[in-house]
Amino acid sequence: MSIDPKIIEILKRKILDENQDMEISQILENWLNELDEGKKDLNQEDKIKAILDKINV
């Protein structure tokens, strides 16, 4: 299974439009796909920390 391509497309566009680090969109994309696959060990904390490190407020 994979997440609807439209969501990924819009996610990438959004992060780009907001001039944020594209690594954020990559982390979110992986996260969505892992949720979709029903993966149990998502390492959410690592993902959150990585995003918070990159996000520019």
């Binding site: 299974m1 819009i10 029903g38 959150i48 996000i55 407020v57």
Partner: protein
């Protein structure tokens, strides 16, 4: 076993001790390339029960029913009506990714209204308690997903109801846009955890604990109000469906009554026509009766003889007196009778009177009448009187018809429906008040966490969150998380809009074909489906648009999950049935199972059959009892692939000819 599940296919199921005969249904799938199955059943013989059992196989809806009475009713609906059982069993056989067999076993306890699940993974013999589907499937198989995948026509009403916002909810569920919220919630949990670990407190521990208690209280209340809102939304949807079905019934009765009005007028007119015809017949008969010459040959002969004698004798006016004097002397009267003394005396006494002009004027028309009256055949006389009898019969028939039409006017049911509707509307009223007003009330600084206004609770939560951020020195973290949540929310909204636009485009491409004679194009599916240049649509049009909506939506899902439909071709005309069937055959990627009644078969099953080049399971299933003896006899004519003796109380046939012959024969493709 790989967790990555791309497809789920149902390969069959079996019933034991339920409200459906104890038979097995097998959905053959040669080369894993057969996606379509049609199951023909009798009305009221387990279609809805099966649909619910299939739903329950993937999601335990029964356990979510808290109300005891409702729970009892849901269980009772599955139990055998004539001989209720204490226990019942349903088994569903599925195949994941076209290779892994799974059996889901549902054991019903009709005494205590309980359900137990067992799962057999793979081809093993041991079964594990519980509904143990692979994790990736569990995440997909939400209540909403199952409700949409197991579709009945109620959805056609919900998708057009602004209040329900069903289109958005459906897209969010099927396209899993809710994952974005899930990620946002993970950030909130991270923040809470971070706040509890940080050592940079700006307030005392007690004060922080008090803030956190306040936040917990608000969050709990928010969860309670959200649950209440969802329960109310579900209840309102159920009540509205009930209302819709009552409205449809009322409409049908009213339409029937309109026809009755027409029939009433026609019957009254028929009576008037019959009365006129009868009057004409009476006149015809009277014409016979008032001229004795016409209804008696004897009178006809006598009077003709009289006229002949009058003519022979001349009876000129000027010589009348001498004529009568001579007549007295005659041996024979004008009428041919022997002239006796009494007659002579009588003529003598009256001759002066007869001889007047007036007398002549009387005699002459009689003579004319006699000469003009022709002899009438008995058959002609009979015809006129038979016609009279017939017209009297016609009038009686017309009166009986009028009486029957009057009797068929179902006024009592209309009153009953109105009472029920008013009862439902009374139940909906407080729900609307809660959903439209109470939860949307504006925040006031005097509000407490006990309020039922979601707006107020959200504002209170935002305030206390800010206080905690300041107290724990996590303001920056709070801003970062707010920003990422804002992005996630905007991604969800934009995705919903763009997916909706793509669905609209796909629906509108299909419209000219599926709604050939009445093309209506979709303008928007925001909250509900609306049309270009028009406000509403007929039920049949709604059903077709609903199909197109679901086909476009379900095809977006990366998981190929069965699309199961109860009564797939009801409420649509023959041409639309054909076009819907073509859409299904050509555009559905997943497995399609439909339970249909015989009136839905023609122009639907045969079209699917043709489009799919016969790569379709055509199944007939019905109970075996004294009421179905004629059907059992029919089944015996098609013994190949027909299981007549295999099950004690039911028959299942996989014979194509029987499918098309069952209660009527289609002329379309066979073999």
């Amino acid at each position: 076993m790989s967790e990555n599940i791309n497809s789920v296919k149902i390969t069959g199921w079996s019933y034991r001790g339920l409200n459906v005969p104890d038979y097995d249904i097998n959905l053959s799938d040669p080369d894993s390339k057969r996606n379509f199955s049609l199951i023909l059943q009798l009305s009221g013989q387990g279609k809805t029960t099966t649909l619910n059992l299939l739903r329950y196989s993937f999601y335990n809806f029964l356990d979510e029913i808290e109300n005891k009475q409702t729970r009892k009713e849901a269980f009772d609906a599955l139990n055998n009506k004539e001989n209720p059982n204490e226990k019942g069993e349903f088994k569903l056989f599925i195949k994941l990714n076209n290779e892994i067999n799974y059996t889901i076993n549902l054991k019903f306890d009709f005494k205590d209204y309980k359900i137990e699940y067992f799962t057999i993974a793979g081809d093993g013999v041991g079964s594990d308690p519980g509904l143990n589907l692979p994790e990736s499937l569990k995440d997909h198989i939400s209540a909403e997903f199952i409700k949409k995948s197991f579709f009945n026509l109620e959805l056609a009403d919900e998708l057009f109801d602004e209040q329900e916002k069903e289109t958005d909810k459906t897209i969010i569920n099927i396209c899993k846009l809710y994952f974005l919220e899930k990620i946002g919630n993970a950030f909130d949990l991270y923040k809470k955890d971070f706040e509890s670990k940080t050592g940079n407190l700006k307030v005392s521990n007690e004060e922080l604990i008090s803030f956190k208690h306040a936040r917990d209280k608000i969050e709990n209340q928010l969860n309670y109000v959200t649950k209440k809102e969802n329960d109310f939304l579900e209840k309102r949807k159920m009540l509205k469906n009930e209302l819709n079905s009552l409205n449809n019934e009322e409409k049908k009765i009213r339409q029937a009554n309109n026809q009755i009005n027409e029939k009433l007028t026609a019957a009254e007119e028929a009576i008037r026509d019959c009365e006129n015809d009868l009057s004409d017949s009476f006149n015809n008969c009277y014409n016979f009766l008032k001229n004795p010459m016409k209804f008696s040959n004897e009178y006809f002969s006598l009077l003709n003889n009289f006229e002949k004698n009058l003519t022979k004798m001349g009876i000129p006016k000027s010589v009348g007196e001498s004529f009568f004097s001579e007549l007295i002397e005659s041996e024979e009267c004008l009428c041919g009778n022997h002239m006796n003394e009494k007659m002579k005396e009588s003529i003598n006494q009256n001759k002066l009177k007869f001889l007047t002009d007036e007398t002549y004027n009387v005699l002459n028309p009689i003579k004319v009448k006699i000469t003009q009256t022709t002899s009438v055949e008995k058959s002609e006389f009979d015809i006129v009187f038979k016609e009279l009898t017939k017209k009297m019969g016609d009038l009686n028939k017309a009166k009986t018809k009028l009486s029957n039409v009057t009797k068929s006017f179902d006024q009592d049911r209309i009153v009953e429906i109105r009472d029920k509707k008013s009862e439902i509307n009374q139940k909906i009223e407080p729900i609307n008040e809660f959903i439209d007003n109470i939860i949307n009330q504006k925040w006031q600084d005097t509000d407490t966490p006990n309020t039922e206004s979601k707006k107020s609770l959200e504002k209170q939560l935002s305030n206390i969150t800010k206080q905690i951020e300041e107290a724990t020195d996590t303001v920056k973290l709070g801003k970062q998380i707010d920003l990422i949540k804002k992005y996630l929310s905007e991604i969800k909204k934009d995705s919903l809009d763009e997916i909706s636009n793509s669905i609209i485009e796909k629906i509108n491409i299909e419209v000219p074909r599926v709604l050939k004679y009445e093309p209506i194009f979709v303008k928007s599916i925001k909250n509900k489906i609306t049309f270009k240049d028009r406000t509403g649509a007929s039920q049949g049009q709604k059903v077709r648009i609903t199909y197109l909506f679901l086909i476009a939506l379900l095809n977006r899902s990366s998981l190929k999950f069965p699309f199961i439909v109860d009564s797939p071709a009801t409420a649509i005309d023959d041409l639309s049935k054909e076009e819907v069937a073509k859409s299904l055959a050509n555009y559905i990627d997943s497995q399609y199972i439909a339970f249909l009644l015989t009136p839905e078969r023609d122009d639907f099953a045969d079209v699917l059959d043709e489009e799919l080049k016969k790569n379709i399971n055509l199944i007939v299933a019905f109970p075996k009892n004294k009421y179905t003896e004629n059907l059992i006899a029919q089944a015996k004519e098609f013994p190949d692939n027909t299981e007549i003796e295999k099950f004690t109380n039911g028959i299942v046939s996989y014979n194509r000819d029987f499918f098309y012959s069952f209660r009527g024969r289609s002329n379309k493709i066979r073999d």
